[in-house]
Structure formats: C-alpha cells, structure tokens
Assembly symmetry: C2
Homo-oligomer: 245 residues x 2
C-alpha cells in the first residue's frame, strides 16, 4: 500500500511568562500514532519561512516539528542590524531569558498531541544553534540537540553538567565567527561534564552554510554551501535514528 | 525475492616491485554485476583478521573490499615494539615506499573482475588512516578516502594539490596522538589545495576507537569506543553513498 504524505502545518500561539510567542507546527497526518518531536530554533532574523520549510522537511521524515519563536509574536527584525541587536540581547545579554523562551517552545512541542514526549530533540541554526545547546545546558529533558553553525561559547561552562541528552555540533571548518577559544572552551565544557558529544567540521564551509539567503560568497564569512548543507542534514538524520531508537 | 548473501573471501598475492604482498578480497556473490571497490588499509600490526572482518562487512554492504598488505607477505609484527618500528619505517622514513605499496594494493583491487574501476574508495585504520590520505596525496584516481583515527601530518604538504577524491577524516576528540599542530597543518593543506574534505571529532574517544583489541581504558590513550565506532562506520556509509552515486 502506498500512502500519500499529507503534511499539515499551522501557526501555534503559546506563552512564556507575559510574552506571547507565535510558533509553527508541521506533521504528516498520513502517519498513525505518536512519533518523536523536533524543536526547530531560528537564526537571528527570527522565525521565517526558512525554518517552516525545515519543519516540513522534518515532518516528511515522520517527525512532529515545531518551530519556536524566541523573540515573541510580531517581533521580527527588519534587517541585519536589528537582528544583531535582538539576537545579542539574548545571546550576550540574558541567557536566562533565552533559556526560558526556548523551554517554552519545548513545552509547546510536547503538548502537541502526536508527540511522543519521551523522544524529543532540538535543532537550531546560527543563533538557534547556540540556543539549542543553551536548552541542553538548562537541564531540559531532551534526547539530543543539533547545532548547525551555532556559536558554542558559554558564559557559564559549569552548566555543562546539566546536559541530559546527546550533543551534535555541525560547523563550517572556515567559519570566521567560530572562535578557536570558544571551540576549545566548548570542548572542555563537554569533556568536564562527560557529555556524549561530537562535532563535525565541513571543509570549505563558512558561517551559515545551510542558509541559501546567505548567498555564496565565502569571503563575506557567511555563505550557503550545498555540500555541507546536505552532509549536515544527513548527519542529523543519522543522529535522530540513534537517539530515537 | 529474497537473496541469501554469500560472502566470498580469498587471499590474493600481488607484487610491488620485487616485493610479494598478500592481500585479501571479499565480495557478495549473490549480487550481480560490477560494483564499487573499497581498499582497506591495516593498522600498525599489519593485515590481520580485524581488517578481514571489516572487508566482509563491506562486502555485505555490496562492495568489493580488498585488504592491502603494506608490509609484504610474511612480514607481520609480533608485538607493538615491532609494529612501531615497522610502521615508522614507512610513516616517518619512506613515504614514497608507502605510496608505492598502497598504490600496488589499489591496482590489485582494480583488477578484481567485479570492481567498477570508476568507483573506488580507500579506508584505513590508524597507520592505515595515514596511508589512505598518503594514497590520495600520491594523485591516485580514487573517489574518496576515509581515515579512521589516522595521523594527518604530511612531510610534503604541497602534495595536497594532487588529491583527486574527497577526504573524510574521523577522529577521536581526545586522541593524544593527534597533535594540534598536525591537525592545523592538515587543515591548511586541505584548504590550500581546495580539497573537498571534512573531519568529524567523536567526544570521549581516544586513539584506535574502532579497535576492540585496544581495550577500553581511555587513560592509555588508545581504546575501543563502541559509540564512536558505530557513528564513524555510519558516516563512512553516508560518504560512500555520496561518492558512489
């Protein structure tokens, strides 16, 4: 019997404290029963069609995918200056608020009726890649997190001990935003906390290698790289097969 | 229809100059037609049952696998002292001889009647992981090479420009034999030559992480790591799917 995949999507509002967030869920209703849930955390421009498309790709793989909205409903940077300021507010300013926001998204994912709450992962891009590791550092009960070209630094490396799931970091070998000192500190954090972690470096790839909107000029430090995009997505699939079995 | 896998194996003698080498081939004769060929290069103890078992695993995946014999017929270290001396003779002493030996193995693989000579890869463990990258540096016409915990240093980094295939290095994040300077030099070699390369680091894994005979005491610097073994094998399979398509 051949079943026709039928990807369902919709916007989902949820709360973090007094803040209303506007997430997005995608799943395949041709599949029966509960299935693993994957949280998708956006890059610095906020939740865009890019993450929604990734959620649909995850739904096609058989997962319930839920895009978090870290910034809150209606808060969408109009340009990279605004994006930098807003992402910086969380990443450099208030990581506790960042953790609260991403955990609110995780709760919203768990509440989706088709989600098996024992099988949960989170993935994120750039700012979202940092955020999903911060989610793990918050002690969230997830099977694993995948950071796509996220900064890996932490102002509180001792929080590595809170990490319950596995950590997969996917990085551009030529990413100028990935500072050697941050990398070394991340590795130390993972080692000291005995986390199950790994990191893959893709040669020829700079920052944002999964993002077609980044263009293809490596000299800018951020650019799409089709090979690294494909390889990192395949690695994520392998990781999910491992953590969800 | 279900076909029963029937893995055929045999010893194959071949020559490199005046030296007779004793390799080993494995393939599944339940599969029809030509298929990709994979050269397997042994660790410092020489060609052992370990590599033969890997060749059988590769045959089960549908490849023709051929274990090279770098040291020559009958030359098998009896202990790690002898292994260190012998591997060092090639790795530190005469890389040109190492290249000649591994290329002779590659030729022997290509001559196997079931091998599609346009689809060839090489994998290697420890000493063999160094050797397959040396094979690529020799300009060998291979689609790709996979180094499992091999040293990545090169006395002739300009030879990176000869590399025709893709390079995948799989490394223990805690491997004390993988020197930071060697890693940095390898990355520079790959970048300068614009090689299609990537490197994966497995957290908690030291040298020899694919080798059960290494024991499981990380403090010795070399130890088996079941997770890293499994993940690296899966990554190799993904890589083959990419380079052989």
């Amino acid at each position: 019997m051949t079943v026709r995949a039928a990807i369902q999507t919709r916007t989902v509002e949820y709360q973090q404290g007094d803040t209303t967030c506007e997430g997005f869920v995608a799943y395949d209703d041709a599949i029966q029963g509960k299935r693993p849930g994957v949280l998708v955390v956006h890059q610095w421009m906020g939740l865009t069609d890019y993450e929604k498309h990734r959620a649909e790709m995850l739904a096609q793989l058989g997962y319930v995918a839920f895009c978090a909205d870290i910034y809150g409903k209606g808060v969408r940077p109009q340009n990279t200056q605004e994006a930098g300021a807003l992402a910086g507010k969380y990443r450099n300013g208030d990581r506790q608020l960042l953790r609260a926001r991403v955990n609110a998204g995780l709760d919203a994912l768990r509440q989706q009726p088709l989600v098996d709450p024992k099988r949960i992962a989170a993935i994120g891009y750039c700012f979202g890649g940092t955020t999903v590791i911060e989610l793990a550092r918050s002690g969230a009960d997830v099977n694993g997190v995948v950071s796509f070209h996220g900064s890996l630094d932490s102002p509180t490396p001792a929080d590595g001990k809170n990490i319950k799931g596995k950590v997969l970091a996917l990085a551009g070998a030529d990413d100028p935003f990935q500072k050697p000192d941050d990398l070394a500190a991340f590795e130390k954090e993972m080692r000291d906390a005995k986390v199950d972690w790994q990191i893959n470096f893709y040669g020829g790839a700079v920052h944002a290698f999964t993002q077609p909107m980044a263009g293809n000029d490596n000299s800018k430090g951020a650019a799409y790289n089709e090979k690294a995009d494909r390889r990192s997505w395949e690695e994520m699939k392998r990781f999910f097969a491992e953590i969800f079995k």
